[in-house]
Symmetry: C2
Subunit: 208 residues, 2 copies
């Protein structure tokens, strides 16, 4: 299985492009993600992030200001480095590829913990909540052309709202991830696709 | 709008039935809920709960032992005191009543904050995660007869999995609640029903 983003693997910052500023950002965001994964929200504190990243404390405070500011930047980076839209040529298989990607991300030990920590942080901090909502809006914008293309091919009714279709696809996977202890399975991803396709076919997402 | 459970309103413990032990539990669970609502997960600490409840600290430590133990008991009580299943005589209107209840609960200032705090707690504590999963399993068992009755009336295919239908109904509401900043609307509840009914009709939830 190929890594989907830098959050899957550790790469020494010096091997990434972008010069010194980008290398510092890289090291700091990676350290923040590591601390969130290991200790959750309570483990993250700017001084600890700076220390782990091998970066001066004052740099981290000056550039990110606060933990929510840092988590917000982490979410921007996660959106920038996440997978492109699937493009299999058909709605059902595009949705299946996307649902499997969501399932794999949430079921992955490190990434699942990272998402849980950030979603938990968003429940009690408005800056993080806004950044998280932006992250999902970005992801939905990235994947929505799957639905636009399906409408153009006549696979979905005219007027189908692409963003609502993509939200619907993710919803049961996130709901189970956050409220159940049973691991997410491929069958869950397949059921999410079947539900979404049935609703698309029935015209549920056609804008009024 | 009528309160759906004790978590909507404050009632002095002395007016509730069940004797002294029940009154102590009542006061302690209410204090725990209040602290979770006001300060989130970080605000809750057994000593503060005891103080707020007007109950001896040793009673709280002896009976509940830890914050996760207390939150687990709060979830048991929330399940015990939550609304019964809708019974309108038809699947679509039963699902609509249920979706509106979920929306109203999550959109309510106090109850929404309580659910957010508990879901956040569950992301980083296994005892709370298990108690939360039990809570939703209880709620799903309570509401599932809506689907059993619909199958008996011929409104849903034979073999339709009631629990999966009820999960699917809640999923988009919880997903938006936890990942978006836009308030949940009645249109969201109606869309959740339309999606679920389309999937039921298409046989998506028929057990293999």
């Amino acid at each position: 299985m190929k890594p989907q983003s830098r959050y899957d693997v550790r790469v020494p910052p010096s091997t990434r492009p972008g010069g010194r500023t980008a290398a510092v950002r890289d090291a700091v965001l990676r350290a923040a993600a590591d601390l969130l994964i290991e200790d959750g929200l309570e483990g993250i504190e700017l001084t600890a992030v700076a220390q782990r990243a091998g970066v001066g404390k004052s740099t981290v405070y000056r550039r990110w200001g606060s933990v929510p500011g840092l988590v917000a930047d982490l979410l921007v980076d996660m959106a920038d480095t996440s997978s492109p839209r699937p493009s299999t040529g058909a709605l059902r298989t595009d949705l299946l590829a996307q649902a499997k990607l969501v399932r794999r991300t949430l079921a992955d030990g490190r990434q699942g913990r990272l998402f849980k920590a950030i979603i938990a942080a968003a429940t009690c901090d408005a800056v993080t909540a806004n950044a998280l909502a932006d992250f999902y809006r970005n992801r939905i914008d990235e994947v929505s052309p799957v639905v636009v293309d399906a409408v153009a091919r006549g696979e979905a009714p005219r007027g189908t709202d692409p963003a609502e279709v993509i939200r619907q696809l993710s919803a049961p996977l996130y709901y189970r991830f956050l409220t159940d202890t049973r691991p997410l399975t491929t069958a869950d991803a397949e059921r999410a696709v079947a539900v979404t396709v049935a609703a698309v076919d029935a015209g549920v997402f056609v804008k009024g």
